[in-house]
Structures are given as C-alpha cells and as structure tokens.
Symmetry: D2
Subunit: 246 residues, 4 copies
Amino acid sequence: MPEPLRVLVWGENRHEQRDENVAALYPDGMHTTIQRGIEENLGAAATVRTATLDEPEHGLTDEVLAETDVLVWWGHAAHDEVDDQVVDRVQEHVLAGLGLVVLHSGHWSKIFRKLMGTTCTLRWRNERDRELVWTVDPTHPIAQGVPQPIEIEAQEMYGEFFDIPVPDELVFVSNFSGGEVFRSGCTFRRGHGRIFYFSPGDQDYPVYHHRDVRKVIANGVAWAYTDRPARGIPVLNRHAVGEFDA
Amino acid sequence: MPEPLRVLVWGENRHEQRDENVAALYPDGMHTTIQRGIEENLGAAATVRTATLDEPEHGLTDEVLAETDVLVWWGHAAHDEVDDQVVDRVQEHVLAGLGLVVLHSGHWSKIFRKLMGTTCTLRWRNERDRELVWTVDPTHPIAQGVPQPIEIEAQEMYGEFFDIPVPDELVFVSNFSGGEVFRSGCTFRRGHGRIFYFSPGDQDYPVYHHRDVRKVIANGVAWAYTDRPARGIPVLNRHAVGEFDA
Amino acid sequence: MPEPLRVLVWGENRHEQRDENVAALYPDGMHTTIQRGIEENLGAAATVRTATLDEPEHGLTDEVLAETDVLVWWGHAAHDEVDDQVVDRVQEHVLAGLGLVVLHSGHWSKIFRKLMGTTCTLRWRNERDRELVWTVDPTHPIAQGVPQPIEIEAQEMYGEFFDIPVPDELVFVSNFSGGEVFRSGCTFRRGHGRIFYFSPGDQDYPVYHHRDVRKVIANGVAWAYTDRPARGIPVLNRHAVGEFDA
Amino acid sequence: MPEPLRVLVWGENRHEQRDENVAALYPDGMHTTIQRGIEENLGAAATVRTATLDEPEHGLTDEVLAETDVLVWWGHAAHDEVDDQVVDRVQEHVLAGLGLVVLHSGHWSKIFRKLMGTTCTLRWRNERDRELVWTVDPTHPIAQGVPQPIEIEAQEMYGEFFDIPVPDELVFVSNFSGGEVFRSGCTFRRGHGRIFYFSPGDQDYPVYHHRDVRKVIANGVAWAYTDRPARGIPVLNRHAVGEFDA
C-alpha cells in the first residue's frame, strides 16, 4: 500500500442544504464527517479529499480519478442528476483498479447498479429501528477492531431481499428491531477494482459520527486499495502460441 | 432423480423418552414427525424410513447407507454416543454421493463437524425468541414455496458467529427477537455429496409441525440428491499422458 | 419445471451469410444447429424456437420474451448492432426470472457485459488449438452425462485472465494445447434470473455439432429455468413494522 | 501484521535422506530451501524457523505452535507417521487463528484432509510435464509480483477432479502440457485460521528454487496471518437477551 493512500469522499450534499435536521446532524456536510472518520482512523497513512455533485463534472474528472486510490460514494436524493458520462468514467477507473466504497443509499446509485448489473433494490422503512451489525467473517480485515455486534441505536431499516449478485465475501449481517435482516457488509471484485458496500448510515441519524461505523469505513478504504496494473485498462488480447505476458 | 427417492431420517430419540414436554410435542418421536413432513411434501416421489441411535450400529449399516439417497440427521443430547466407526462410514458415503440434510442441533454432531473441519460452535439461548427466516437466494430450489419471511413464533436462538466454512450457497438468514442473526440455511458440497444445513427446529418447540419448516426440509431432501458415480469412492488416480476417463 | 420448457435460441446469423466456411459448417445457420442440439437432448420436455438479429426488434419483443423461459445467446461480429433498448429489455426480463445461456463470443455481447458489470475481455487466438474441457464440480446438473474431459479437436483459444465477476459456481475449466487455461463453464445469478456462460463454440469449427457440447448446452438450458415471481420485476419496497410479504 | 511475522516451515525430510536425486536438488533439505525462499522475499518482516517429522512431537509442541503465526507444511512419503494427537493440536491452533500454507503433496496430509473434510484426492502423473500457472484473481495479494503465467519447465502433473470443498478464493489455475488443468492456488478460511493451498513443488524437480514459486509462497505466508482472538479457541456460547460481546 502506498503511503499516503489517496482517498476521495464523494457526497451528494443536497440534504444538508435543504433539510434542517440533516444540517443539524452534519453541519459541515456528510462528506466532511465521513472524511474525518477516515482521517481519524488512518491518520498519516491517508490523505482524504472530498468532492460533491454540484462541482463541475461532479468533481470527478479523469485527472482527479487518476490520482485517487479509493473513492467513497454517498448519494440519495439526486442519483438521477449524476451525469452518465461521469458514471461511465468512474466505472472504467474501477475496472482498471480504483477502489470503491459505497455507503447506504448509494446502493441505488447509477455507478453501483452499473457495476452490479442488477436492480439493487431492497426493503426499507424509516422509523428508528435499532440496528445490530454482526460480524460473520471474523478474520476479514474490514471487521477488525469493532465489537460483536456493532450497536446503532436508531437507523433506517434496510432489509432482504437485497437484489445484488452473490457477494464475493459476506462480512456483516444486520438485525433490525422490526424483524428484518440485511447483508450489510459485502465485498465484490470487478475487473482490477475492489468494491465494498456498507449499509449503515443515513442522513436522518448521526450514524457517521458512530465510532464503530467510522472504523469499518476506514477499514474498507484500506482494504479496497489495489495496485493499478501498469498496462492500464485491459483490452481484448490476441496472443500467438507461446507469446505470454511474462 | 430416481423415483422414488430413498430417504432415511435419523433421530437420536432420547429427549422423547425422558422429557415430558418433548414427548407431548412429539408423541411418535421427532424422527417420525420429520418423516411425515417429508412424505407430506414429496408424496409418491419419496419413500422415507427412519433409524435411531439405539438400534444396532445406530441403524446405519453399510447396506442401509448404500440403499439410501438422502440422509436427514437430528441429534442433540447424545452426540458423543455415536460410534466413530459409524461416523467414518457415513462420511465415506457422503463423499461418494449420499445427500445429507443436517437439522438444528445436528450442527454439533460428529458427522457435521467432521465434514466441515471446524468447531461448528455458535451463540445460543433457549428463551422463546421469535425467529423470522428470510430468503436471500430467491431462485434457489430449497427456497421455493415458502413465505418471505417464514415466521416461527417460539424458538431457541442460534446466533453468529457460527463457526462453519463459508457456505457454497447462503439460502436463509434468520432474525431473532433478542437481536441476533444466523445463517440458518446453508449448502455445502463435499466430494460427490451435497449437504444442506437448516437450523430451525428444537425439541422444546413444535417446530417440526410448522408447515413452512416441513416444506424447506422436503425441498432440501430433493435438492441433496445426486447420482453416485458408478466408479465408487474416488481414489488417487495415476494417469499416463493422453489416458483420460472418457 | 413446466413442460414443455419454452426455449429461444438467438443467433446473430451474419457469418453464415458472408463466410463460405461457416456456411459449409452450418448450412441452416448456427442458431438452427444449436436449436437441434437442445431438441436432441431435451426432447418433448422443451419447445425450441429461434430468432435472429435482422428480424424486427431482433425478434426479441416484450411479448416474445414474456413467453420464453430460457434464452440462448450467440453473437460475434455485430454486437454493436444490437439495439440498446432491446438490451435493456432483455436485462429486465433476466432480472425478473428469464434464464440466459451465453455461448462463446457472446462473452462480448452488450447483454452479457451489462449483466456482469465488467469488460468481459479475455485472451484469444484462432489457430486450431485442441481444447479439453474438465469438470471441476462433478455433482452440478450442468456437468451430468459428459466425459471427463470433453475433447474438442480444433478450437479457437480463449484464455485467462477472463474479466468477469467471480462466478457463483465454476463448473468447467479448459486446457488449450497452446498452454492456456480458461474458466469455460460459469454460473451467475442476477436478480431472479440464472445465467450460464459456456465458452466452447465458434463459427470456424464444427463445435455445435459436437455431442458433448450439445449435451452441456441442453443441461444449461434446463438448469437456467426458474419460476418468475408472480409479483413481477421487483421495485423499492417500503414496509411498515410487521408488514411482511407472507 | 506484527513484525517480525513468526513463520515455521515443517518438512517431512525423508526423501532428502534416502533419494539421491532429491538430496542433490535440496542438499540442506526441502524445508530449508522453502525457508530461504520466504526469507528472501519477506526479509526482516519475518523470522522463519523449521521443524521436521523426526523431532520429538514432530517439532510441533503446543508451545511452538503458540509462538507461531503461520505454519508451512510439506509432506509426502510419511503422512501416516504423523501422530494423530499432533494433527488434532495443529487443527485446534488453525481454528484459533494460526495461518497454514499447504504445499504440493501436502494435499494428502492428515491435517489438510481433516480441515477440508474431503478425500483431497486428485489425478497425477510424474513425467516431466511443463506446468503454466495462470492468475485468475489479479488483485489478490497472493498473486502480486509474478508473471502471467508462471512457467515451470518440468513438474509432476496434478489434475482435476481435485476433491476439495469449493475454495473461498481461486487464485491460480494450472495448465499441464499433457492436457490437464488444476486449481493450483486456493484459499480457505476455517475458524479463525486462513489456509492457502499451492500445488507447484515436488521433491523430484527444483521447483522450490524457482523465483516465482518462492514469491507466491512468501505472499501466501503474509496473507495467511490473522490476529488470534484474545478469547482463545471459541466454545459454545450461551447468551442472555441483550448480553452481547461488546
């Protein structure tokens, strides 16, 4: 892993401007709160920047992406406003080795749905359920340093069936007080990129101030790093007999 | 699938003889109740016999196993009384193609632990939790014909971390009213044998009378069938160049 | 499984019209040869139709797809000519339960890439390699009734790295005489749909006349069937406490 | 990861004493050659010791295992001479967090078979096949720093079907010049322990002097490390409502 790891937190940054309760919970924006949680855990091992929807090209130019090791994604109310060309660009970078951490309502983002190939729909209810996040893969790097279970006092409920491909690794499963379960921590490899989806977190609750949630996000960021192959984005390769890559 | 499928339900049959409440719930023995649930769902497509711990060789002679397509296993209080030679014999048959459905406290049986290679420990509490069994793999044959979720009013709690290998397929995840989650329906392939572990079911509750639980067990039995390869149990194979099996 | 299973073989049908050697190998079109291989193996259990690129809407109207249980896809030279709206429509049907069997150069089709989320690139060489297709999951329904290995005398080479998500199940791995390996039989679940990718098959070789290749394709078709859920394509579901689907 | 990582290479050390050609290839013993390959790659980040079959308790006392982070295992001619109690002890340590790297003919060792639950049989031939080791998971830490493919001029052939559980991760697949394929690099999690099986390597060929093979083994050692949970080996846990581990 290079030091420092170059992390970019992308936030939609709309709820913070129009919903009073969100602004109260996240006065500097959710993306900034997420950024600080990563900095708090990774310290000098990472430099963490932010970008938001309303910047030109949503702050996700080819140059910015080329200088990013891991991208963290939070969106909710304005998924449709994300430009298709930017989504294609992010996908290309992920397939070429950019790490991606998708948070909560980001399950419904264009980029996540495009990388999964499924609807990414789920069951939900916003009525202050208690969420308990249980580790089912105790040696996974993403699960280190958090209690069994992580307790989140008040949360939006996300429940099964969650329409994703079978995850490569299932790290966390959540219990909601209303009776539901959810595969809340899942990893996927797509091309040379590693993807971690983590569901806790919502604009209506102070979840990104929760110590253990911050720890998991930072763990996910560190895990999602991979070397980008020098040869760049793979293409169709014609090879003569005995002509290997070595 | 041959018709009829030859199914053998193995029951420990001890609680039924010494615990009044168990005898009241299962007057003909738990194994008989499980047998009837399979017959009820598979009808003429299966012939279902039973065997119990106190029979000679626990009713699991080589001849019996050779004439069985799928074995269903329930044990709890007397795992240690199961003879190691019989366990080795069952393992050999599973690896050669015998299907195996392991129920509830069978997670701690010698045969399941031997096939898994892990401790198969879990978290538990016997205090009438409500269990909700959620399907997370909706096209899996084992999940057909049951509601989302299956509701079991009163149950022993089984919770994570469940110390098993990562399942080949995760079909069900349970929510318990006390706050736990559990990977309650898991499949594994071992050699030529298919294994389904399903956790609902306990001697202290009428779970094996539950319509949906019976349906899942019958689905699991049908799924676990495989042709036993004609060549018998595989051995180390030395092959000359160009000498294949075709 | 309903009887008969409604199967639709989609073929690009271009090489057959412009390449003499292809026309000689497949005088009635590759799609027809594939159709006959399925009929030969599934008999009365299936009705198999065909559709081709040059039909209106490529023969893949909403009505046709709604009356299809499993779609088989072969394309190569004209992937780009497949209309994006038709691709979106096929994806919607797959996510709602349509089975999909993708053959050989179909790895590079719009529909497969869209469902996978990756580039689906691979290594290749068209110089008459011998391909040996080894079964690595001997109890899988798709691997029944074929020799170990399947021998294909002359083939285009497809080699790793194959840029797909980790398959849910790896059924076949191929050896090429030039030294490459390939994950040649892979299954994926996407939404309510089951997908089987099988790589043997090329316009320049008589691979779809090969008895074992035909058997595998027919097995794949039977395996890919699932009940389409009555409720149709899933959407975002808001549920009150205690309001389940049961 | 602690520095230095405490690695123990266990070698059977019998072929070296009785076979002239093996002694010529590995004058200091295969275990020493493997040890040096790890030291060469991990440098100061690891301290690497060795132990052999003929030491008391095979050099694998409880004290030694408790002070080991990752155990590397090579055996072949004398699997049966390994004491069952020592095997049970190693299994307990693996389930409690000891990393395990199993090499080549170690597939047939008591410890590997016990952890897998299957026969671990395979197809083989010792006639100087060329082996090409292809990476199928290019971002996996174990696959870093080696060419695509790794070329091994002369090798014993190991082929499918390899009777192991489906690996958690498939990292390498090998092509043999005789036509076979083999899942040559596989990971498994068992309890708190991580296991890596890597098939290249044989007493009759200088495989453990091969630069890339040494790199993969060192990568596997680094990958297999996990923190051993402070609570020790897990046991059956009874928990009251609301009594979690936090």
